[in-house]
């Protein structure tokens, strides 16, 4: 399954803004319908024929139940949202309940995370991890041009050494054989 569509994927088209306002949660319903469809479509491809079957319940039975559950819940959620129900956003120590979503920060964080995933196999964790930490703290608003990168390198080197000490392998990249 690909739990891909982030909320922005289902954001309102400009001309529909008025009707959609405050109903972004319908995007969650769309997401649930998509997952339900994926599960049901996949269940239909499974071979439940007698030859394959071991026991009276085939491989498709539970997926069908899950798909139906998702579709029913999605429908109930549509009804709830249209009647004015909203899910309360989660709170926390550092969450400002009145703030608007800061998409720039989220996208920059995701980018830093993907850069790490892209280069970790070739550049090694010490380089890619440092890029991840520095990039993420930059995205979150830290602008110490000396302290940030030093801390990033210190953390990635330290975590590399700690994990090797505990017997967990991480790629060293160019430092292979040196460390």
């Amino acid at each position: 399954m690909t739990p891909a569509p982030a909320p922005e994927a289902t954001r309102p088209a400009p001309e529909a803004t008025r009707w959609w306002t405050g109903r972004a949660e319908l995007g969650v319903c769309v997401f649930l319908y998509v997952v339900a469809a994926l599960v049901l479509a996949d269940a239909a491809t499974l071979d439940s024929g007698l030859t394959q079957q071991r026991g009276p319940v085939g491989p498709a039975a539970v997926p069908v139940l899950v798909g139906v559950l998702l579709a029913v819940v999605a429908t109930l959620l549509v009804v709830d949202v249209l009647r004015g129900g909203t899910g309360a956003a989660e709170d926390g120590e550092d969450v400002d309940p009145d703030a608007r979503s800061d998409w720039r920060t989220v996208i920059l964080l995701a980018a830093a995370f993907l850069v790490n995933a892209a280069v970790i196999d070739t550049a090694g964790w010490i380089v890619s991890g440092a890029l991840l930490f520095w990039g993420a703290s930059f995205a979150l608003g830290s602008r110490h041009w000396v302290r940030d990168p030093l801390l990033a390198v210190g953390l990635s080197l330290g975590s590399y050494l700690m994990f090797s000490a505990l017997g967990v392998w991480l790629p060293a990249g160019p430092f292979e054989g040196i460390l």
Binding site: P7, V66, A88, A89, E93, F113
Partner: protein, 522 residues
């Protein structure tokens, strides 16, 4: 119970070797440190620290884990007392009363009663676990596949309808979790489901990746999208101590909390929101001066904190004896067992007694270590609260990435981790509780297996699911939980038109207001 005591002694023999004591100490120190950090609750602490234990042998890993578990709980209460907004549901009540104490210059006493109360409740709760677990094990050995399926179904329904505010959103979260749990090979026929030819998906989605993605990455992205520009104020604290009067006012709430939290933790809809809330109400009723509650009454910290830790011990009973996680932390711990190819359940006690009892013994040891660490070192832990937020959340992403890469050394896992993080972000934004999802991912495949096994034995007849009195009783409870809104509506209607505009939707009304404060966090 001589056998139980023998087992416990054997457990201590395992846990008291120098190396395992060191693991326990590392565990409690890491657990406290991570748990104190704002925004990180016990579940995320345990999930993030899971990879640290990969290189260890199972006994050492679980001893470290026990320390992380209790350490995370301790750390959370420090955060709740010194910063007003709680990060996890279990500390909501502590935050209310403890922060009021701190604001009136009694932070030291609030931390002291929380730490000593947690120690006493943790010890009593663990003792209760020592004596209930063998009973549960012998009961569980009589369970058939149908019984297991019924109990798992109860865990699903309870996670969706007892916790959280909106049942629809709870079930939505459960459905997503069950769908993720379907990915991979069907264990009975070997056909691959929802894998789309991707080899990494054919093995199923690693539960650790789901847990870290939803808890750690999702939380970091969510907080980052609405970061407070000025972090919440931290109340300074000096040496932690308690006066004579504080002791006199604390010891009864500690004991009451110890016995109150445990049974709630052990129930399938466990968790600590409800018992800590009930403990608070009880202490307010029994207090000499109820008017002080809400303005920093020490009983209001002592009782709920003890309840919280005792329920943390109770949660381990269904987790170890049935393989049934009822809270987010238990779900992550179950994952840890699976990493070592161990399946918690009655057979684990027979096959790996040394490991299970070593884990239980180290809970006692970790608890004592925590008291020693927390009383003198509280000011040092409190300093962690001042960590600059960019570093904190960058650090969460950093450790999530290194930990998950370490599982399979696969960069694709990191992409999957980010996608799951975005899912967690969406769920937080739109108020879908995360616990049903994680429980669905873990229990979904097991429930399917038991369902098919039960129906195989009965040749496809659904009667196979309701053969024992236990399963019939469990289905009755499930029915009651599902129909609860209707029952409540009927009661209200009979009471005479209590159904105002508020009663139309299930997530409003007085209960919801109360639950709005007691949200399950991570």
């Amino acid at each position: 119970m001589p056998e139980t005591l023998d087992n416990l002694m054997m457990g201590f023999a395992t846990a008291l070797t120098p190396v395992n004591l060191l693991y326990a100490l590392i565990g409690v120190a890491l657990g406290t440190a991570i748990g104190v950090l704002p925004g990180i609750g016990p579940a995320m602490a345990v999930a993030l620290l899971l990879p640290v234990t990969y290189g260890l042998d199972p006994a050492g890993a679980f001893i470290m884990f026990a320390g992380i578990y209790y350490g995370g709980m301790y750390g959370g209460s420090t955060t709740a007392i010194l910063i007003n907004t709680p990060g996890e549901a279990a500390s909501v009540i502590t935050a209310v009363e403890g922060n009021q104490m701190a604001k009136r210059g009694r932070a030291a006493q609030a931390l002291a009663t929380a730490a000593i109360g947690s120690f006493i409740a943790g010890t009593i709760g663990t003792l209760l676990m020592v004596f209930t677990a063998p009973v549960m094990v012998s009961l569980a050995l009589t369970f058939g596949a149908g019984d297991y399926f019924a109990v798992m179904l109860l865990a699903f329904v309870a996670a969706c309808s007892v916790l959280g505010k909106s049942r629809v959103r709870g079930f939505a979260s459960l459905g997503i979790g069950l769908a993720i749990g379907l990915v991979g090979l069907d264990s009975t026929t070997g056909q691959s489901r929802l894998s789309y030819g991707v080899p990494q998906l054919a093995d199923g989605v690693d539960v650790v990746i789901v847990a870290v993605g939803i808890f750690a990455v999702g939380e970091a992205l969510w907080v980052a999208s609405r970061l407070r520009r000025t972090p919440a104020e931290v109340i300074p604290v000096g040496r932690v101590w308690m006066g004579r009067d504080d002791w006199k006012r604390s010891w009864k709430p500690w004991l009451r909390g110890s016995f109150m939290g445990f049974p709630f933790g052990a129930l399938p809809a466990g968790g600590s929101e409800l018992p800590t809330f009930l403990s608070y109400m009880l202490e307010r009723r029994l207090a000499r001066n109820p008017g002080e509650f809400g303005r920093g009454a020490i009983e209001g910290v002592a009782g709920p904190e003890a309840t919280n830790n005792s329920s943390a011990a109770g949660v381990l009973v269904p987790m170890l004896t049935l393989g049934l996680p009822t809270t987010a932390v238990a779900a992550v711990m179950l994952t840890a067992f699976q990493q070592y190819g161990l399946q918690p359940g009655p057979l684990l006690f027979e096959r790996e007694p040394e490991l299970v009892w070593g884990l239980i013994a180290s809970l006692f040891i970790g608890n004592a270590m925590l008291l020693a660490l927390n009383l003198p070192l509280a000011p040092m832990w409190a300093r962690l609260l001042r960590i600059p937020r960019p570093y904190l959340y960058a650090g969460i992403l950093f450790f999530a990435a290194v930990g998950m890469y370490a599982v399979n050394a696969s960069a694709l896992d990191l992409v999957l981790l980010l996608l799951l993080g975005l899912l967690g972000f969406m769920m937080r934004r739109f108020g879908l509780p995360v616990i049903p999802l994680v429980i669905g991912v873990i229990l979904g495949p097991m429930a399917e297996l038991q369902l098919r096994r039960a129906l195989q034995l009965s040749n496809g007849s659904p009667v196979g699911l309701v053969e024992s009195p236990l399963s019939i009783g469990v289905y009755a409870v499930i029915g009651l939980l599902l129909l609860w809104p209707l029952v409540r509506l009927a009661v209200r209607g009979a009471a005479g038109g209590g159904a105002g505009p508020d009663a139309r939707r299930e997530d409003t009304g007085p209960e919801a207001d109360r639950e709005a404060e007691a949200r399950p966090g991570v």
